[in-house]
């Protein structure tokens, strides 16, 4: 009767012994560290792939974005400057302007007195109107003469006892004052003009019909 108990006891002892031996065997054979390292590497790789966008290390992306943004801004600024670039005007100081003397050329606008002469009143009498018409005609003739004079580009120097004169192509004789002659002959404005009789010159007139410049005419010009 005791045999079953002993048998059971032996069985229990055997199981315990086997269990003990098995567990000791396990302690002698553990998983290599290289396997754990490989697992950790895989975890790190997957962690980067699965990281939500709000947890992603944004530093490299921020750096790239900053560089790209700076380049874009610089490009925009340069483009704006190129588009808006206009040739800057030459600014003259007021002191510089004083060295220049403006000369009005060929303004054929009527003088004030000439305008006044062309005004007609409705209340004027017949006699008054007749006088006004004559006055206007006179103004017209003067302005015609101015126009002609201004258009006279060439003239011939005429030397006489009274001094130098300029004979225009329509046979108008423009007398040159002694001051002008002295000035033209002086070294300051000597334009190399041969003030001999028959020399052709080119003329420039101002708005008042005054000759402001006489230039040597190299080419033989005929009226």
């Amino acid at each position: 009767m005791t045999k079953p108990n002993n048998y059971q006891g032996d069985n229990n002892n055997i199981d315990a012994s086997l269990e003990n031996l098995y567990q000791k065997r396990k302690l002698q054979h553990v998983s290599p560290n290289v396997v754990k390292q490989e697992v950790l590497n895989t975890l790190s790789t997957n962690a980067k792939a699965d990281t939500p966008w709000w947890k992603v290390n944004l530093k490299p992306y921020l750096q790239i974005s900053a560089v790209a943004g700076s380049v874009a801004i610089a490009f925009i600024v340069i483009s704006i400057q190129v588009v808006n670039k206009q040739p800057s005007p030459i600014l003259l100081e007021s002191a510089d302007l004083a060295n220049f003397q403006s000369v009005e050329l060929h303004v054929l606008a009527p003088k004030t007195e000439q305008l006044a002469a062309t005004q007609f009143s409705r209340n004027s009498s017949t006699q008054e109107r007749k006088i006004q018409y004559q006055s206007a005609q006179s103004v017209y003739m003067e302005r015609q003469a101015d126009l002609v004079v201004h258009q006279q580009a060439y003239a011939t120097i005429v030397s006489s006892e009274e001094g130098l004169s300029l004979l225009t192509c329509d046979q108008n004789l423009l007398k040159l004052s002694q001051e002008v002659v002295n000035l033209l002959m002086s070294g300051q404005v000597n334009k190399g003009i041969d003030f001999s009789n028959g020399q052709m010159v080119a003329l420039a007139f101002d708005s008042n019909g005054h000759i402001i410049d006489i230039q040597k005419q190299s080419k033989k010009t005929e009226c």
């Binding site: 031996l21 065997r25 553990v30 895989t42």
Partner: protein, 193 residues
């Protein structure tokens, strides 16, 4: 007054280590790296020893690595109603058998005789009982060796039957044969010593 302190400390220590099933659930939900590391530290050595007992060191290392990579990449294959350890060992066993099938070694293992043989394998003459046990264990047929290992890993007959796709009676028989053989071998070794 202080008698309850150790129990509190022990309770606190126990509370700090959640069950593996909860750890696995945490990993599935949050892909927490620490969860995998905790599971690895708990089961890696058991898995390696089982695979080593069923094959060789090189293959065991390879299968362990592949199994854990699969855990990391496909955690959803774990069914939350089951044991994490059983799930891990099942994956490892399936991977091992796949490797055996590649080399056609599985056919040989399946054809091994499982009946209790009267032949007693002559163990090497050594005084180290541990070495004798190791030799005796490796001398067992594949199926008996596997059943013995899985039982000593804490799996029930039902678990082993499910993992190996066998009936419980078959597992019970294999375990009886394995223990008997080991006992005889050990007794023979003791007698010779």
């Amino acid at each position: 007054m202080f008698s309850f302190l150790p129990s509190i400390l022990m309770h606190s220590a126990a509370r700090k280590q959640p069950p593996p099933e909860q750890v696995m659930a945490d990993y599935i939900m949050r892909k927490d790296k620490k969860a995998i590391i905790a599971l690895y530290n708990t089961f890696a050595d058991d898995m390696y020893h089982y695979l080593l007992t069923m094959s060789d060191p090189t293959l065991a290392q390879d299968i362990v690595q592949k199994t854990w990579l699969k855990v990391i990449e496909k955690p959803h294959s774990y069914h939350t109603l089951g044991s994490v350890k059983a799930w891990l060992f099942t994956m490892a066993r399936n991977a091992l058998i796949d490797e055996f099938r590649k080399t056609k070694r599985w056919v040989e293992l399946e054809n091994q005789h499982e009946e209790l043989s009267s032949d007693i394998t002559i163990l090497s003459h050594t005084d180290n009982i541990q070495s004798q046990f190791d030799e005796a264990l490796m001398a067992l047929p594949f199926a008996q060796r596997e059943a013995f290992c899985l039982q000593h890993e804490g799996f029930s007959l039902s678990d082993i039957a499910t993992m190996t796709n066998n009936k419980q009676e078959t597992i019970k028989t294999r375990l009886r044969y394995a223990k008997t053989k080991l006992k005889e071998l050990l007794e023979h070794a003791n007698d010779q010593a």
